[in-house]
């Protein structure tokens, strides 16, 4: 498939949309655009380079995400797409879109909340249960099934749930 390079803006949008269709393999309701992991798409002729930023230094999903971006772009007709990792500025959950936060909650994961001090010990934090909405919840472990999540439990409906940590 060959692309006519007649409209750069439309082409870049097409590349962006293709890259933005890639989802987090660990949280498949969130696209990498929702997460704020997708930083930039640069076109040079019909070559495309996508910049992504890692969430956590050791997040094993990043390799998978990079491969999926290349596949998505090739499917959209871009030849030899490249994925570049940028470290600065460091990723923060503040980049998560409002749509992303709603999708997380609907999926059963409490979205990140900004109020918590990262340095206070045994910190009290109110995280609403994504299942029943109750504020009577408790932290089970700061480290959950992936780097970005903590494990919580609701004391009202007794359901355990993941909390997407503020970072």
């Amino acid at each position: 498939m060959v692309i006519a390079v007649d409209d750069n803006t439309a082409l870049r949008q097409r590349a962006w949309d293709a890259a933005a269709s890639v989802v987090d393999p660990e949280i498949p309701v969130l696209s990498i655009a929702d997460l704020g992991v997708l930083r930039d798409v640069v076109l040079d002729g019909d070559r495309v380079e996508v910049a992504i930023t890692p969430t956590y230094s050791g997040c094993p999903a990043m390799n998978m995400i990079a491969i999926e971006i290349e596949i998505a772009l090739e499917r959209a007709g871009f030849r030899q797409p490249k994925v570049r990792t940028v470290l600065s500025p460091a990723w923060t959950t503040e980049w998560m879109s409002e749509e992303g936060r709603q999708k997380l909650r609907a999926y059963g994961i409490a979205p990140p909340q900004a109020s918590h001090s990262r340095r206070a010990l045994f910190g009290e934090q109110a995280v609403a249960c994504p299942q029943c909405g109750s504020d009577k919840t408790e932290l089970l472990s700061e480290f959950g099934s992936t780097s970005c999540k903590a494990l919580w439990r609701c004391r009202s409906c007794r359901e355990p749930f993941d909390y997407f940590k503020c970072h």
């Binding site: 890692p54 956590y56 230094s57 050791g58 997040c59 094993p60 470290l87 600065s88 500025p89 460091a90 990723w91 990262r118 340095r119 206070a120 010990l121 045994f122 089970l140 472990s141 700061e142 480290f143 959950g144 099934s145 780097s147 494990l151 940590k165 970072h167």
Partner: protein, 258 residues
């Protein structure tokens, strides 16, 4: 063991990145040894998560060291094809896991330093090191909180947990001085605004320690004598054993990839 060791041209900046990379890799590997063995599932996941963060930091630092060196090396060669005397990590991070208290005291001493260190490095004149610092700082804040809470639980817990936590502090204390040592090469980097003078962090590091250890009803040793050597490749007997496991696949099947 057919694969030869690589050679590394250790300019001050290469060596600086390598030392921090080795700290993160060796401590990350140590923590990964708990995977499947921690006292409870949540802790198994916590220690494995922290290990992942540290190994991720190591990869960034190795990649930068290799790029700065500008030779044929890369992150994998630096991790898998250097022998024990070529490793530049702190003696503290290579110490065996021991019991849970020993692992957490080691983690506490290191994280209390790393948290201050990465925060200070965010203003490094070296853009890559500043970017790595900005990521690592967020992670080390979690690591420190996790370790601090455990020191308090163990110290202010049962007689047995208190005894073990105090024994770990007494045993590991002599390895903490090396975190604040600086050689001539590093002094040049500090002068150039690339590196942070770790000596300037020691007061705040002690304040962090005193607060947590006091609340944990534990005490810090009064001795000033400190063991050093890791930064120049003189290691305890434990590192060679660790590397034999860490490197065995690449040494046995050179160049193998998944």
């Amino acid at each position: 063991m057919a694969t030869a060791n690589i050679e590394v041209s250790e300019t001050p900046l290469v060596l600086y990145a390598l030392r921090r990379a080795d700290d993160a890799l060796i401590l990350g590997h140590r923590l990964s040894e708990w995977c499947g063995h921690a006292p409870m599932l949540e802790e198994d996941m916590a220690l494995s998560n922290i290990a992942l963060d540290l190994i991720g930091q190591a990869r960034e630092l190795y990649t930068y060291a290799a790029k700065t060196e500008g030779k044929d090396n890369d992150e994998d060669k630096l991790a898998y094809l250097r022998d024990v005397r070529q490793y530049r990590n702190l003696l503290l991070v290579e110490q065996p896991n021991g019991d849970f208290a020993q692992t957490l005291v080691r983690q506490f001493f290191y994280s209390a330093f790393a948290d201050l260190y990465w925060r200070a490095m965010m203003t490094s004149r070296d853009a890559t090191l500043a970017a790595i610092a900005a990521k690592s700082e967020k992670e080390s804040a979690y690591h420190l909180r996790h370790a601090s809470e455990w020191i308090i639980r163990l110290g202010d817990g049962t007689d047995e947990s208190h005894r073990r936590a105090q024994a770990a502090i007494d045993q590991l204390w002599a390895f903490t001085g090396e975190m604040f040592a600086v050689d001539d090469g590093e002094r040049g980097l500090i002068h150039a605004g690339i590196a942070v003078d770790p000596g300037t962090l020691r007061g705040r590091w002690l304040t962090t320690l005193s607060g947590v250890i006091g609340e944990a009803t534990l005490t810090l040793p009064q001795t000033d004598w400190m063991q050093q050597g890791g930064r120049s490749g003189r290691h305890s007997e434990h590192l060679g054993h660790l590397l034999s496991e860490l490197q065995s696949m690449q040494r046995t099947f050179p160049g193998q990839t998944w």
